[in-house]
């Protein structure tokens, strides 16, 4: 199994202890608050993924064959989801990222946030993460 899917399963397990949406969201919000800080120099227009409702900044780095993502958002629920995505996708090889199946988001029961019709920029973010991985891949 792809390392990203393994991490995804781990996250699904963490969420599985919650019975209702409120506990899930509370956990997500905690994840948002716990999110590693990003250097403000990366919160620039070029790194901005515009969604209608909340801003997401995404900055990638490529070190020793692995991709690292740093991100931020002005909305805390969005941050929670980003943190989750970063936990899953960061620190992985371009190939692992490109091939990752992100079904775990569905399993957690947060897929509504990833609908392309929910204009929160998360779909664009995942697209962007995979795109960065492809770019880094061509550099190797």
């Amino acid at each position: 199994m792809n390392i990203i899917e393994e991490r995804g399963n781990q996250i699904v397990e963490e969420f599985s202890v919650f019975d209702d949406w409120l506990e899930k969201y509370n956990y997500l919000i905690e994840m948002g608050k716990d999110m590693p800080l990003i250097d403000s120099k990366y919160k620039i227009k070029d790194n901005l993924i515009t969604g209608c409702q909340s801003n997401v900044w995404l900055h990638p780095e490529f070190k020793n064959g692995k991709v690292y993502f740093y991100a931020d958002s002005d909305a805390v629920i969005t941050k929670g989801i980003i943190n989750m995505l970063i936990r899953a996708l960061s620190d992985a090889t371009p190939d692992e990222i490109i091939n990752a199946d992100l079904g775990f988001i569905d399993e957690i029961g947060l897929s509504e946030h990833l609908s392309p019709t929910r204009s929160n920029g998360l779909v664009s973010m995942i697209k962007q993460m995979k795109l960065y991985a492809m770019v880094f891949k061509t550099k190797t």
């Binding site: 409120l22 969201y25 805390v76 946030h113 929160n120």
Partner: protein, 406 residues
């Protein structure tokens, strides 16, 4: 809940829907209203028993559909008290109505350095068509400022009016702030300066009795779906003498008098502006919605919305940390605000989960929201079927959101 409202609510089955297993409060009426059963039934009756294309056939069904369609036009005309039903053009909605004027009037009568004057509180549909007209003609877009209560600043507006001002386009009621603009005064001043005036009535028609003759506006635009009618239908009112001298915008179907490859002559108004098969069922649903509104009566509507507005403002003001946007003296049943320290997107997600349908974000009025220097508004907007209880639900939900996010 009072009896009258209960009787109104019975006509809206969707209000009984459960969302996430709970009853929900629909407070997103400025985006679109729900439809009473009579409107829905008018549409399905038409399709099951009367459907035909109009104007085109001599056969019975076509004749009958044409009569019904033109009767609907007359109802719309009476609804806003236009002097003549040929001044009513059926469109898809407000947006198409404004684009029609920006093209058919704008392309013909505006030139380089002419000015179009709008306000800071317009919906994108009353901004972008004018920006596009400016880039086609070299005209300039001028923006009249507002103050923090969400009101026009009349003396600034007057300063911006001048002999170059060819069009004044202004919303009757702001969709982001709820402000009812003093459009009668605006129209008078604009006319004195020699400009024609287009009123964006999208948010007004479900809230106020509109009389285009009394207002003396040149164009008035509105959408069916925001006044309990189906989607895909709306109207443009235009003064006959203006419509007559405008060129058609779209070509095709019944908008012509005669077509040859050498020369095509156009039909009379309103048909000149209605290219293609019209949305007959939409027009009939529109008429049914007008009946729904007149049966209730604007006295009741205004009273009830005022009650919800006041009750809402008072109840929400009790919650710590709420910042209101739009506190004009004359307002419709619409409240925009932010919760201190809470991103509107977070609020929206949680309010939704708690069974409250409100709208957040730029509300298609980005320059207005930017003016208040926030990433978005939270907007609760009331329909004629809403209740104080639903406002209580909203207030409880906001308290809960604050708790979750604290």
């Amino acid at each position: 809940m009072n009896n009258e409202i209960l009787k109104i609510r019975e006509q809206f089955p969707i209000l009984n829907r459960m969302v996430y297993g709970k009853p929900f409060a629909y407070l997103d009426n400025a985006a679109t209203t729900q439809k009473p059963t009579k409107v829905v039934k008018r549409v399905s009756d038409y399709y099951e028993w009367e459907n035909s294309n109009v104007h085109r056939g001599a056969h019975f069904l076509s004749q009958e559909a044409t009569v019904a369609f033109e009767k609907a036009r007359t109802s719309v005309s009476q609804f806003i008290n236009s002097s003549n039903s040929s001044e009513i053009i059926f469109t898809k909605g407000t947006t198409e109505s404004i684009n029609l004027v920006a093209n058919s009037y704008g392309n013909k009568f505006l030139k380089k350095d002419d000015e179009i004057l709008i306000t800071r509180m317009e919906h994108h549909s009353n901004i972008v068509p004018w920006q596009m007209l400016c880039s086609r003609t070299g005209a300039k877009l001028k923006v009249s400022p507002i103050d923090f209560s969400g009101e026009m600043i009349m003396r600034e507006f007057e300063k911006l009016l001048n002999t170059k001002t060819k069009i004044v386009a202004i919303t009757h009621v702001s969709n982001s702030l709820g402000t009812i603009n003093p459009i009668k005064e605006v129209i008078e001043k604009a006319h004195d300066a020699g400009a024609v005036v287009l009123i964006d009535g999208a948010q007004a028609v479900s809230n106020l009795k509109v009389d285009v003759q009394e207002l003396d506006c040149d164009f008035y635009c509105f959408s069916g779906h925001k006044m309990y009618a189906p989607m895909g239908i709306g109207a443009l009112y235009g003064k006959e003498n203006l419509l007559d001298k405008m060129d058609p915008w779209q070509g095709g179907g019944e908008m012509i008098a005669q077509v040859t490859f050498d020369k095509t002559t156009y039909n009379e108004i309103p048909f000149k502006f209605e290219a293609g098969t019209p949305n007959v069922s939409g027009a009939l649903g529109f008429e049914a919605a007008i009946h729904f509104l007149s049966n209730i009566g604007y006295d009741f509507i205004v009273n009830h919305k005022d009650d919800l507005l006041n009750y809402g403002h008072n109840r929400l003001a009790e919650i710590a940390g709420l910042k209101f946007h739009g506190t004009a003296k004359r307002k419709t049943g619409l409240i925009s605000f932010n919760i201190e320290g809470v991103h509107p997107y977070d609020a929206a997600v949680l309010l939704d989960k708690l069974g409250v349908a409100i709208r957040t974000g730029h509300l298609c009025a980005q320059p207005t929201v930017d003016f208040y220097n926030v990433p978005g508004f939270i907007r609760a907007s009331f329909g004629v079927y809403n209740t104080r209880e639903e406002i209580d639900l909203l207030c409880d939900a906001i308290e809960k959101v604050k708790e979750i996010l604290s």
